[in-house]
């Protein structure tokens, strides 16, 4: 039985016509890209369900939770500490910014040469098609790259409940201090907003829930090193994307169950692709829902993605937060320590990221690395150059790609990707 969610969407103030168009487009793309894959693990049925209900059941859950007084926080970046949100008994949802929407309207506010990710956030808001944005009690923006921090000045006019968090750019003691101050301020804001006092126990519980999710994702990653690869990169991308908005506990259980199944598949040598399919690692900008362009091109061209050094991927959950600590302050420090290790390209200098990519490439025995940057994203585009030199020096194949959310360059990209696969196979 299908539930009629129209009244719910109407109440949220969505533009029903535009929203219908979005869902329809999404449905078709999902069918073509995900459901058409062969040899998918059974456990992916859960993800398919979540995706089908992304604007339905999950939104209803959020609205039901809101009725009981819980708050919903929307976020654009992995620097928003989920531990603290959970400790305030609130819900964190990642806002997807993976599709072009209302670009003409957006370009009245933002310069044309702004990265697609930023434009997309504005597009979703301007066209009123995102129930998460509309359901959020507070949206957190963070001063990372120049594009983001300047655009938040404009976004504030569209999203009055936007809360902007400052972030360090250098991994120095001063930088750590800044992050600590900002997280403390965030903790206070969360307490005020939710009316929940964040105690040691609550914070520890928040840390544990978040860590468990990260653990499950780490476990999944290790399983991908098998030959044949038990799960497609597209499916893992989806898992990484869903990790940002599904209920953390339910998500963790489902991923662990999926991992059990993958372990069996590995035993029986069942792969999503034939054995010895060329393996590619992705590195670079985050890929928010529904940005599936590059991975689907790669996997259609006869290679499999075995790792993603991205915020929607390993950069987002590689590090855990320590649970030791007897005071809120100590736990907060542990949280700061954890996030301080995220090697986003907005940091300068940022040697950890290069090291990490080289290490992943080795651990996953990838045959090559494709570096993905969104057009006009200086932090990642600039880092891609020294990264290429380093990877080439260690004898790894490396391909730099710069693109956006449009489909016009698909032919060109396909040629590059196929040629790259020809080189590595």
């Amino acid at each position: 039985m299908t539930v009629d969610y129209q009244p719910m969407w109407q109440e949220l103030g969505l533009d029903l016509q535009a929203h219908d168009d979005l869902l329809q487009g999404l449905g078709t793309a999902y069918q073509d890209i995900f459901l058409s894959q062969k040899n998918r693990p059974r456990g992916m049925a859960y993800l398919d369900f979540v995706m089908r209900e992304v604007h339905g059941l999950r939104i209803k859950e959020l609205l039901d939770a809101k009725k009981t007084g819980r708050k919903v926080i929307g976020a654009f970046c992995v620097f928003v500490p989920e531990e603290i949100v959970l400790a305030a008994d609130a819900i964190l949802v990642g806002l997807c910014t993976g599709a072009d929407f209302a670009m003409e309207e957006v370009e009245k506010i933002l310069p044309r040469n702004t990265c697609s990710l930023i434009k997309s956030a504005f597009g979703f808001k301007l066209s009123r098609v995102c129930p998460y944005l509309e359901a959020a009690d507070m949206v957190v923006g963070e001063n990372t790259c120049d594009g983001k921090k300047k655009s938040y000045e404009q976004l504030l006019e569209l999203i009055p409940n936007l809360y902007v968090m400052d972030l360090p750019q250098q991994k120095t003691e001063d930088g750590r201090h800044l992050l600590r101050q900002e997280y403390r301020r965030f903790l206070q804001v969360m307490e005020e907003l939710s009316g929940v006092e964040i105690t040691v126990d609550r914070l520890r519980r928040g840390i544990e829930l978040t860590n468990n999710k990260r653990w499950a994702l780490q476990r999944l990653t290790r399983l991908r090193a098998a030959n044949p690869v038990p799960i497609s990169g597209l499916d893992v991308l989806l898992i990484n994307q869903v990790a940002f908005y599904d209920d953390p506990q339910r998500f963790t259980e489902s991923i662990n169950k999926l991992c059990d199944e993958l372990e069996e598949r590995i035993q029986q040598k069942i792969g999503a692709f034939p054995a010895d399919t060329p393996k590619i690692m992705l590195s670079g900008c985050p890929m928010a829902v529904p940005n599936w362009k590059l991975p689907s091109l790669i996997e259609r061209s006869g290679a499999v993605v075995v790792g993603e050094e991205s915020c929607v991927g390993e950069r987002g959950w590689r590090n855990l937060t320590a649970t030791a600590g007897n005071t809120v302050d100590e736990l907060l420090n542990a949280i700061v320590d954890r996030y301080f290790q995220v090697d986003c390209a907005v940091f300068t200098p940022n040697p950890d990221r290069e090291r990490h990519v080289a290490e992943m490439c080795r651990d996953y025995q990838a045959d090559g690395v494709i570096h993905y940057s969104l057009q006009f994203c200086q932090p990642y585009i600039i880092e891609s150059m020294p990264m290429e030199r380093r990877l080439n020096d260690q004898g790894s194949n490396f391909l730099r790609i710069e693109t956006d959310y449009s489909q016009e360059d698909v032919g060109q990209l396909q040629t590059r990707i196929e040629a790259f696969i020809e080189i590595i196979s």
């Binding site: 060109q412 040629t415 080189i423």
Partner: protein
């Protein structure tokens, strides 16, 4: 064994037939609006054991021809063809109708790395075509004419569309059209050189293929700037199709 390579490019389609590794026939036609049909015309009456398609239309061809055809990228095809024609080449510059690329080979002749231009037509055959038209030169004489220039004019636009308007304003200023033509050629050569220089060129033998390699002015400017000879095969437009045919022979 008789094998065909077919290169479905944005401007032209080439077919090369190879028998036991020897080139036996080659044909060319404009791509037009029905590339697959054109390709079929070029192949009419040929019986081949294997057929391999390359070029931007390769997948279109593959879908319509189903199981009888496979594809290879133009990068691998050009590398194979160029190595067969010019065995010493280490780095290949390929400038076609709508894109330009540089391919670096390892000593065995396999592709080591490549660079391609972005989605615009800057620095490609399209650029020469549009600007030749706005200066009133037939495309196939553009290079020879440009070599008669007396003066070196700087053209700033890399974009084919902007270059056209730059040309118009230069004509309006009374500049000589041969000089303008030379400036346009220089701008293509500069772009190609900067793409080439992303690879280590010391001691490398450079091959130049694709439609623009017919242009003597671009060739000369490249040699001047790179301070080395640039090898151009007899028919630089056939290299991709030839390479595809050779790869087909090894299937």
């Amino acid at each position: 064994m008789r094998c065909a390579g077919i290169d479905l490019g944005s401007r032209t389609i080439e077919v090369v037939i190879v028998e036991d590794g020897q080139l036996v026939a080659s044909r060319q036609a404009e791509t037009g609006f029905e590339p697959v049909k054109q390709a079929e015309n070029l192949l009419a009456g040929e019986h081949c054991d294997y057929l391999l398609a390359t070029g931007y239309g390769r997948h279109l061809f593959e879908t319509t021809h189903g199981a009888d055809s496979q594809t290879v990228t133009e990068i691998k095809a050009v590398a194979a063809g160029c190595r067969a024609l010019l065995p010493d080449v280490d780095v290949i510059l390929d400038i076609g109708g709508q894109d330009s690329k540089v391919i670096a080979l390892n000593p065995e002749g396999r592709v080591r790395k490549f660079e391609m231009n972005d989605r615009c037509a800057a620095g490609t055959g399209k650029f020469l075509e549009l600007t030749a038209m706005s200066l009133g030169f037939p495309l196939d004489r553009f290079g020879q004419e440009a070599l008669k220039a007396r003066k070196d004019i700087q053209i700033n636009s890399m974009c084919a569309v902007f270059a056209e308007s730059e040309v118009t304003s230069m004509v309006g200023r009374g500049e000589n059209r041969l000089d303008i033509a030379f400036g346009l050629h220089r701008s293509i050569a500069n772009r190609a050189v900067s793409m080439l220089k992303r690879f280590s060129l010391s001691g490398a033998t450079i091959g130049f293929v694709g439609g623009v390699a017919w242009n003597p002015c671009v060739c000369r400017l490249l040699e001047e700037q790179l301070k080395t000879t640039v090898l151009v095969p007899e028919n630089p437009q056939m290299v991709g199709a030839y390479g595809a045919a050779l790869i087909a022979s090894e299937l």
